[in-house]
């Protein structure tokens, strides 16, 4: 057995102080295997040691919340005896090293988080960030990463049989060395049939089910807790390989085994594999767990206990069954052709005892690993790191029509159909509204209600002000849901940041968390869980601070009100009005990015109270059947939203504003929704009730989008031309290289 040297400790990414803490918790030097266990469980990825202190500030309670953070997923009561489990998780680091498998196993991991609680996954969404496609140096590589990630998500989700119903995708040079793959999943179950990862009942058997253990993914969690360097590509063996077919069998077998009533607790083996599942289950129940490595199904020979414990092989679960009823569980797994092996028992010692052929190789108090991880209050008493100037550059458009066409065919704003057409977004026949809308809608067959869901994140805004950016993200996500008629009820979040040991980055994280907390409390969408991904840096270059939120909303099942205009001759109403803007608040926009290639100033100003009233108003307009179409304004502002609504029918808009044309057309002020209606008067009545503006801005018509301000023509474009530019852009950018 290897001697524990300072070098070995450092190689496990543990600091000398952390090592001292291990020694004092154990009252002795750890064994090599124990060192490995601590290194993964105390990694940033598993322990949240840099963020935990601040995550406590987030609101987590609400009338719909059945389960907040700390479990495999958050749970929301949707009424009629049913509940929803949902969560988002990142697989950023593996997806850079091996895009296809990295993304595929990201999907697999979050799906297990959902069905380990007893819920059947019914929807997946993805929030993706890639490097710029047009960079001369990295464009080709970034395109390959994007293609690989999309193919990986498609491969896993399609085969597993869960629809990928939406998401978002942004390209920016700041993600050149650190693409982000955040996967959201949602499942449904009866609310009295929730399963938890707990090892209750001393003497109960501990059963390993699913795929055999191999050497893949060892130290994946530690890899995800460090910056990338030139050597990171050598970490490819740390990336796991997924098998969605096996996961599908595991899903069906687990749900069927849960029906027997013989399962006491169950937890998936995700990051840190067998180690985290066994000690967390024991720790939650206040029990001990004793397992012997000799019984663990292995796909390679000669694996050491260290390797078996730290393997992140996919499609595995650990469960505790009622003693005497093991056979009921074994029978189900046999039917599905899966391994199910008793590898140990629940004890009353409160310790994780790992044996190898009877010989003890690790003996650690469960609580020490799972709950006494280091907690850092990392320095953050500086301004959040930013590189952008505050002052606006001088700019003046020479051709607004050309600007608009360039915007709608830019990588960020173009149609993402090239991506989502590769996803089966309809399997399970619940998809009322799929990708491409403001929010996805999935009906629940059992209840007559539907779940709307949306993912949002805007790194540009957050790089200018992490606090205001985070609030804007929550506001937009809730607006997305309100625009399809849903009431936002709960949030999951994925915090993607750089190296927290740098105070400027830590300050970004703290500000963003506080902004997130404030907005989630205000909009009454408590946070029920999520994930933190730090060290998204390569060679000292950090990504934009990129918090991603996923919010779900509840609504009655019915035909959706979609983004696109349906009929010519309808009034076009700009709910929320033109909104205020100025040069300072224009520097985070897509116009600044795509047309001016610049970033400055502050994100758009948000009035949360006004925003909330706009959301209430649009919900009522949509649900009362008055709105024929509804589309919230976000990236690209009014002109881009107008193009997005003009799939087949265009519109003519006449404005009366003091704003200069670039700002009027493209500013990204929140709290605005574009609606077409046959009854303006009734719409305005609703708007008055909520004290918000409903500006009658124009009329829908065939063929063109026209925008004028005080009789000055600003935009006049053919919609066929714009749509074809918008639809073909991404494929061309990925393949035209």
């Amino acid at each position: 057995m290897a001697a524990i040297t300072p070098d070995l400790v450092a190689a496990h990414q543990l600091t000398p102080a952390e090592y001292e803490k291990i020694v004092s918790l154990l009252g002795r030097e750890p064994s090599y295997t124990e060192l490995g266990i601590f290194s993964v469980m105390w990694s940033e990825h598993c322990s949240y040691k840099s963020s935990r202190l601040h995550l406590k500030k987030l609101p987590t309670k609400g009338k719909y919340v059945l389960q907040g953070p700390g479990e495999n997923a958050g749970i929301i009561d949707i009424g009629d005896g049913y509940a929803i489990a949902f969560k988002i998780e990142s697989h950023n680091h593996p997806s850079f090293i091996e895009p296809f498998q990295g993304a595929a196993t990201g999907v697999g991991g979050i799906l297990r988080d959902i069905f380990t609680m007893g819920a059947r996954p019914i929807a997946v969404m993805d929030s993706l960030r890639f490097g710029a496609l047009d960079g001369p140096e990295n464009g080709g590589r970034n395109a390959r990463i994007a293609e690989g990630v999309v193919a990986g998500i498609a491969h896993y989700g399609n085969c597993f049989g869960v629809p990928t119903v939406g998401g978002e995708c942004v390209f920016d040079a700041c993600y050149n060395g650190n693409p982000l793959v955040n996967v959201f999943a949602l499942g449904v179950f009866q609310k009295d049939k929730i399963f938890y990862g707990t090892a209750k009942g001393v003497g109960n058997p501990v059963i390993y089910v699913g795929a055999k253990t191999g050497r893949d993914g060892i130290h994946g969690a530690s890899m995800a807790s460090a910056e990338f360097t030139e050597e990171s590509k050598q970490k490819r063996p740390n990336v796991q390989v997924g098998d969605p077919f096996l996961e599908k069998l595991l899903l069906e077998a687990c749900l069927e085994a849960m029906q027997t009533g013989a399962i006491v607790g169950i937890q998936d083996m995700g990051a840190a594999g067998l180690t985290s599942s066994s000690c967390e289950m024991g720790s939650r129940a206040g029990t001990g767990v004793e397992i012997d490595m000799r019984y663990v199904p292995q796909r390679e020979t000669g694996m050491t206990p260290y390797e078996i414990l730290l393997s992140e092989s996919q499609e595995r679960m650990l469960l505790v069954a009622d003693k005497g009823r093991e056979d009921e569980v074994f029978r189900v797994f046999k039917k599905w052709g899966l391994d199910a092996v008793e590898i140990g028992t629940v004890t009353d010692t409160g310790r994780l005892v790992v044996k190898n052929h009877g010989e003890i190789v690790a003996d650690i108090p469960n609580k020490a690993i799972a709950h006494e991880a280091p907690l850092y209050d990392r320095p953050h008493n500086v301004a959040p790191y930013r590189t952008a100037p505050m002052e606006s550059p001088h700019f003046s458009s020479s051709d607004l029509n050309r600007d608009l066409e360039a915007l709608v065919s830019s990588a960020d704003l173009c149609s993402k159909e090239w991506i989502w057409q590769q996803y089966d977004y309809m399997v399970r026949t619940n998809t009322v509204e799929g990708p491409g809308g403001d929010a996805a809608i999935v009906r629940i067959k059992e209840t007559g209600s539907s779940i709307a869901m949306s993912l949002d994140g805007n790194g540009r805004y957050c790089s200018l002000s992490p606090r205001e950016g985070a609030k804007l993200i929550v506001a937009e996500c809730c607006r997305n849901l309100s625009t399809v008629g849903a009431v936002p009820v709960a949030t999951t979040n994925n915090l993607n940041f750089g190296n927290p040991e740098r105070p400027g980055i830590m300050a970004q994280l703290v500000e963003a968390v506080e902004g997130l907390g404030e907005a989630c409390a205000f909009f009454d969408v408590p946070i029920t869980g999520g994930n933190v991904s730090l060290y998204n840096e390569t060679l000292g270059e950090a990504i934009f601070p990129t918090p991603v939120v996923g919010i779900i909303g509840l609504m009655k099942t019915g035909a959706p009100v979609t983004v696109d205009f349906k009929n010519p001759g309808r009034a076009v109403v700009l709910l929320g009005g033109v909104g205020p803007s100025d040069e300072t608040h224009f520097g985070g926009t897509q116009y600044a990015k795509q047309i001016l290639h610049s970033l400055w100033g502050l994100p758009p100003a948000l009035d949360m109270d006004y925003e909330k009233r706009v959301q209430s108003a649009v919900r009522e307009m949509v649900n009362s059947g008055l709105a024929e179409s509804a589309h919230d304004l976000s990236d690209g502002g009014l002109a881009v939203a107008l193009v997005e609504s003009s799939a087949k029918i265009g519109a003519r808009i006449d404005l009366d504003s003091d704003l200069r044309p670039e700002l009027l057309l493209f500013h990204e002020g929140p709290s605005r929704v574009l609606i077409s209606t046959a009854d303006v008067a009734k719409l305005q009545e609703i708007a008055r009730k909520y004290g918000v503006e409903a500006l009658e801005a124009g009329v829908t018509m065939e063929e063109r989008v026209v925008i004028r301000n005080r009789d000055t023509p600003l935009i006049d474009c053919d919609i066929v031309r714009l749509q074809s530019a918008r639809n073909s852009a991404l494929g061309r950018m990925l393949h035209g290289r």
Binding site: C159, W336, Q421, Y423, V432, G558
Partner: protein
């Protein structure tokens, strides 16, 4: 009138089994049972649906392993006695691998999985799967597959056409299928393979109910018997 009884075969990796069940049992109010892949017999079913999905993970080749499952012997026997067999998507792939239908399904021309609603032209109403439709009718159903490019030699294709065995064609071919073929019959006309998903187009809430023409034709054929 007694309800018709459908048997929906469940292979490990089937994932449209429940959708097919929901369409016939809940939307159309017929009876439907799931039949596990190692069942030696089908029981008293009046028609069989081989649903979409990734049977046996689509390892080796789509449908290549499923053809060896015990239930497929029963399905073959059922078909030989004239029973109605509908293979949807992966089910179509299994039917060609099993030799119940001619040809093969290759990777899509674009080499990518494609999921989208599209238009099909109903080419013949002379089948139990399209009797309620009319020749030339345009129906909307979604596709969702990576390997749906129908391929057969010219003689087989000529034969399919001469015998009026092409039931559906793509209006705008999404995958490179020979002669735009989306769905075909066996010579006896009681087995159909179809790449698009009628069960996903069985209620307007899902965007289209045009797929009902397939399922309702099967039911009407049964009622006539």
């Amino acid at each position: 009138m007694f309800p018709m009884k459908f048997g929906v075969i469940v292979f490990p990796g089937s994932n449209c089994d429940h959708d097919a069940w929901y369409a016939v049992a809940r939307i159309l109010g017929e009876k439907a049972d799931f039949i596990w892949h190692d069942a030696p017999r089908l029981g008293d079913v009046d028609a069989v649906i081989l649903p979409g999905g990734f049977s046996y993970g689509d390892y080796l080749r789509c449908g290549a392993i499923a053809r060896f499952s015990p239930v497929m012997s029963a399905v073959k026997k059922f078909a030989a006695y004239g029973g109605l067999v509908l293979g949807i998507c992966n089910g179509f792939q299994i039917l060609v691998e099993s030799g119940l239908l001619p040809g093969a399904l290759l990777r899509n021309r674009g080499l990518k999985f494609v999921c989208k609603p599209l238009e099909l032209r109903l080419e013949t109403s002379d089948s139990p799967f399209s009797a309620l439709g009319h020749k030339g009718q345009i129906v909307r159903m979604p596709i969702a597959h990576g390997e749906g490019c129908y391929h057969a030699d010219d003689r087989t294709l000529d034969e399919l056409e001469a015998e009026d065995r092409v039931v559906f064609r793509y209006v705008d071919n999404p995958n490179g299928s020979a002669r735009d073929i989306a769905g075909i019959l066996n010579r006896e006309r009681n087995v159909m393979g179809l790449m698009p998903h009628p069960e996903r187009a069985s209620e307007s809430l899902m965007g289209s109910s045009d797929g009902l023409v397939v399922l309702q034709s099967m039911i009407s054929t049964y009622a006539v018997k």
